[in-house]
Amino acid sequence: MAFALTPEREKQAVALLERYPEKRAALLPLLWLCQRQHGYISEEIVAWVAERLELSTAEVKGVVTFYTMFFDHPVGEHVIWVCRTLACELRGAKAVQEHLEKRLGCKAGETSADGRFTLLKAECLASCGTAPMVQIDDLYYENLTAEKLDRILDEVAASGPFYDREARERFEADRRGEG
């Protein structure tokens, strides 16, 4: 079946195109909308976006593959990024990764057998003062201890998948802001 955005997202897409002096500039935000809906950028999405912005599929693919946050293949319901750059490393990032690998039963770069979590290594996420930390889907979890990390994972596991989570994410964001 050909790709289509939900009516709500379609409205956002139309608004996006008006924000820039050139159509092409809407490429990254449009890819974000698609990935939030579908979980990754499929071949159908590439074709759909290319047609929408009057680009070749090669140009769209070239952009998708340039950026680490766009996935060109399916990933787990939740993506966990462990920051392994220096400041985090000094505060225990390796232990965080080891803990996650044990709990999920997969290595960094892999998806857990039940398909729920993909574990990836990240480069500095601008959270060095609250290291060690992970990003799960769209949110940061900082000043981690093994116990705190387990609690967070329980919560995330009990929630719906990433692409259903925009509302929850806003809620969590604001709750975090109060803390």
Binding site: R19, Y20, P21, E22, R24, A25, A26, L27, L28, P29, L31, W32, L53, G62, V63, F66, Y67, T68, M69, F70, W81, R84, T85, L86, A87, E89, L90, R91, G92, A93, K94, A95, V96, H99, A122, E123, C124, L125, A126, S127, C128, G129, T130, A131, P132, Q135, D138, L139, Y140, N143, L144, T145, A146, E147, E169, R170, A173, R176, G177, E178
Partner: protein, 462 residues
Amino acid sequence: MGFSTPSPKILTSRYHLEDSFTLPVAMKAGAYAVAREVIGKKSPESIRDEVKKGNLRGRGGAGFPAGVKWGFLNPRPGQQVYLVVNGDESEPGTFKDRTILERDPHRLVEGILISCYAIGAHKAFVYIRGELRFGQLRLEKAIEEARARGFVGPRPFGVDYPIDIVVHSGAGAYICGEETALLNSLEGRRGEPRIKPPFPAVEGAFRQPTIVNNLETIATIPGLVEMGGEAFAALGLVPGDGGTRLYGVSGHVARPGVYEAPAGLPLRELIYELGGGLLDANRQLKAVIPGGSSTPVLRPDRLVKASDPQHPLHAWDGKSEIDVPMAVDLFRALGTMLGTCCATVIDDSVNMVEVTRNLMRFYRHESCGQCTPCREGTGWLVDVLDQIAEGRGKPSDVDLLVEIANNMMGNTICAFADGTAMPLLGMVRQFEEEFRAAVAAGRPLDVRHDTTTRAAFQGGNR
């Protein structure tokens, strides 16, 4: 705690307020008062003058004077000037801009309004790294609130000077912090740096004259304009660097975080007063990366050599490298760079070959690959460091590292390659004995970086 340096709070004056990110709270504490006072009421030139007088050095890494950069604009009739705010914040060790987005986005919006008016722009793009979704949402919400009040839109504060603000999300690529790569990414392309010239002020976003400034630089504008350039410049502790700025401190310190203090704060105060000293008091301070991973490392046990009274560092002759004030020109004279002013503190539990390897892996991952010396050089550096760390290094490998780095410098489209080579050379220069020892040992280094902190993670006593 008595701090030796008094720290007026300007950028962070609203950080502590409950719901500081909402418009009513921010306005009650003064947000938008300066914009209302100057837009349409003062001349754009007079605002640009104040910024020049304020000695505001760009907060994005290079420390270029913002007033001078703004002066490079000279649009031809019919051209549209753009303001682009650089919120890519990806330099390892840097985490300051994020606090503005999350805790006081209205200060940024106000800074954008004043800056647009001052440089003749009607549209601003704020480029934010994709990972900072939370900050993006906060900023988008703030812009919505400001638009609802009419501050952003066709008639800010009732003045016929339309200003529109667009938030643009990146998607994970350090190189997009480089200003021309950022412009390509904004235009929907791969984030590959462009050959300069033309500079953005002549041909930037959508081929129009564009000012690219760091997010903190722009958020500093309301405070600067409010107090006036001279008063702002006088806040700096050394000549040539005005105002207060956000300092970050992370790694092996007791109180990591972001702190506002005057420009020119000595690194020692950042570590021992604001940062609370070392995390593990039984350890020694070994090294400090002063302003993001691209800035060459400093050693507290190295003394400044500047006996010549003409030397810019003469006043610190014989003192520790970490006693030099954190100012753009002084740090350059010291052989390093101020960078983003976010320091990474390293204690003696750590091996510097491993630290170097960690950072060089970052650069290998992030090189955009357009230039051969950078694409190949970053890979070779990691290969050689792997050999050394795994106990298979040769004595000549230390010199090989230096040779590779030297060949990367000055030969590329953008400053990324220099930003890789300089810290590598700094590591080898400052800790050569440790590189030589690793080679001589001939066995895997087998050290972890987290000796000081792993127990805290496991034990959960944080």
